[in-house]
Symmetry: none
Subunit: 231 residues, 2 copies
DNA sequence: GCAAATTAATGATTTATTCAAG
DNA sequence: CTTGAATAAATCATTAATTTGC
C-alpha cells in the first residue's frame, strides 16, 4: 500500500524504537513552519500539524510539541555559543593572520597559493576546544570586559582595537568603500585587465559571524563535508 | 569553457568596470575554500583571503564578502528547490494513491500538504484543488501568507506572547493524550503499533537527529527540556 | 561571421528576521 | 518594549552567454 509514502520509518515492526524519527518531509515542513514564525503552537495548532505530518510518517502531537520546544531552545543555544566562539576565534586568528601576513611574501606558481595555510587558519580546525573549556554560559561582552581576553595574551592592543573596529561597522558599509588590500607585489600574471590598484592599507571588513557553520548543516548535506564538529 | 585568459575589455583604463570580475584563479580558490567549509568568513578571515587573492587580480574585501554570501545563499536556494520539488512530487503521489484508494472518481479534499497551505491551514482549509496544479514554485514565504500564521507578518512579539499563553494550555496534557491525530486513513501511517495509547506520563522525546539535522551535541538541556510539568 | 537582442549568471544592495541586552 | 548586532532572503543591476536576423 502506498508505495509513495514509503518513508523509511525504521520502526515499523521493530516496535523497539521508543522515539519518533522524523522523516525528511516532516522535518522540512516543521522547519519551514519554524522559519515562518511558529514557535510554540497551541493545542489545536499542534493537532493540525500532526494531522498533516502524519501523512509522511508516524507522528504524534507530543512529537510536534517537543520538536518546537527543542528547536527553539537549540536555536538559541546555538546562537549564543556561536557568538562566543566567534569572538574567541577572532581574537586568536587576528594574531595568526598578522603573523601569517607578514610571513607570506613569496610568490607561488599561479594557482598554487597556499590555501593550505589559509584554510588551516580558518574554520577547519577549531582549536576552540581548548579555548572553550569553560562551557558554561559564555557571556558575550559587547564592550570587552576587562578580564575576558585570556587567549589573546599575545595579541597586541593594536590588534584588539582593530578587531573592535572591524566588528563595529558591519553594515555601516564603511568597510566596503575603503576596502582594498595592498597586494605584496602582483607579478602581473592576471589574465584580466586588472588595471590599477589603489594599494591602500587594509581596512575594516565585515564581521560575518562564525565561519564554522553550525547553522546551515541542514542544507549543506554532503557526505564528506568537513562541517566542523560544531563543538 | 571560457578560456578566461583573454582581454575582456570592459575595464580598460579607468575604473569603468562597475563590478568585480573574478579571475579564474580567484574563483577557483574561492570555490575551493567554500568546498572546504568556509561559509561566512569574518573580518580577519576576509582580510586574509583578500590579501591572497589580490595576487591574482584586483579584489577587495567586499568582493570576498559578497561572494560568500551569494554563493551560500544560492547553494541553499538550489537545494531547497530540489527538496521542494521532491516533496511536491511525493505529495502528488500520495494524493494520487489516496484518491484511487478511496474514491475512484471523486475529488476528496484530503489534507493537502503543500507548505504554503500547510502554514495557512491553521486557519482555514485550503483549496485542495491546488494540490494537483503542480506548482513548482514552492517559494517559502514572502508573497503573502494564505492563512494567517500568527506572526508571519505581524508583530512577532505579539504573536509570541499569544503562543506563550497557549503553552500554558498545553500543559493540560489534553493534546498529549490525544496524540496521534489519525489521518483519514493515511496510507502510510498504519504504524500505530506502539504509540496507540499515549501514556499520561510520557517520556521526553527530543527530536532525534534524524538524517538532515545532525544534532549531535546536546549539552545543556536548558529550557529545551520539555519537563512536562503535569501541573 | 557579426552584432543587436535576449537570456542566464552572478555581483552588489536593500529589506526583514532573529535573539538577546538594556 | 526598544534597540543593537548579524545575518539570510529578496531584489536590483551588470556582465557573460546565447540566440537570431542579416
Amino acid at each position: 500500500m502506498s508505495p509513495a509514502a514509503n518513508f523509511s520509518s525504521s520502526n515499523s515492526s521493530s516496535s523497539s524504537s521508543s522515539r519518533w524519527c522524523p522523516t525528511p518531509e516532516q522535518l522540512m515542513i516543521l522547519e519551514e513552519m519554524y522559519r515562518a514564525g511558529v514557535r510554540t503552537p497551541n493545542a489545536s495548532q499542534i493537532q493540525h500539524i500532526t494531522a498533516q505530518l502524519s501523512f509522511y510518517g508516524k507522528i504524534e502531537g507530543k512529537n510536534v510539541f517537543y520538536w518546537f520546544q527543542n528547536h527553539k531552545a537549540r536555536d538559541r543555544q546555538k546562537l549564543r555559543r556561536k557568538l562566543c566562539k566567534q569572538l574567541q576565534l577572532e581574537q586568536q586568528q587576528l594574531y595568526h593572520n598578522y603573523y601569517h601576513y607578514r610571513h607570506h611574501h613569496n610568490h607561488q606558481p599561479l594557482l598554487m597559493l597556499n590555501q593550505q595555510s589559509l584554510l588551516g587558519h580558518f574554520d577547519q580546525s577549531p582549536p576552540a576546544s581548548s579555548l572553550l573549556q569553560h562551557k558554561p554560559s559564555c557571556h558575550h561582552h559587547n564592550s570587552s570586559p576587562p578580564g575576558f581576553l585570556p587567549q589573546v595574551r599575545e595579541t597586541p592592543a593594536a590588534a584588539e582595537r582593530e578587531m573592535e573596529k572591524s566588528v563595529m561597522n558591519m553594515y555601516g558599509h564603511d568597510w566596503m568603500t575603503t576596502t582594498d588590500v595592498g597586494p605584496p607585489s602582483s607579478p602581473a600574471c592576471c589574465t584580466r585587465s586588472t588595471a590599477t590598484r589603489p594599494l591602500k592599507t587594509l581596512q575594516l571588513f565585515p564581521i560575518t559571524s562564525a565561519d564554522l557553520k553550525a547553522e546551515d548543516n541542514f542544507e549543506e548535506g554532503e557526505e564528506s563535508t568537513p562541517s566542523v564538529p560544531t563543538d
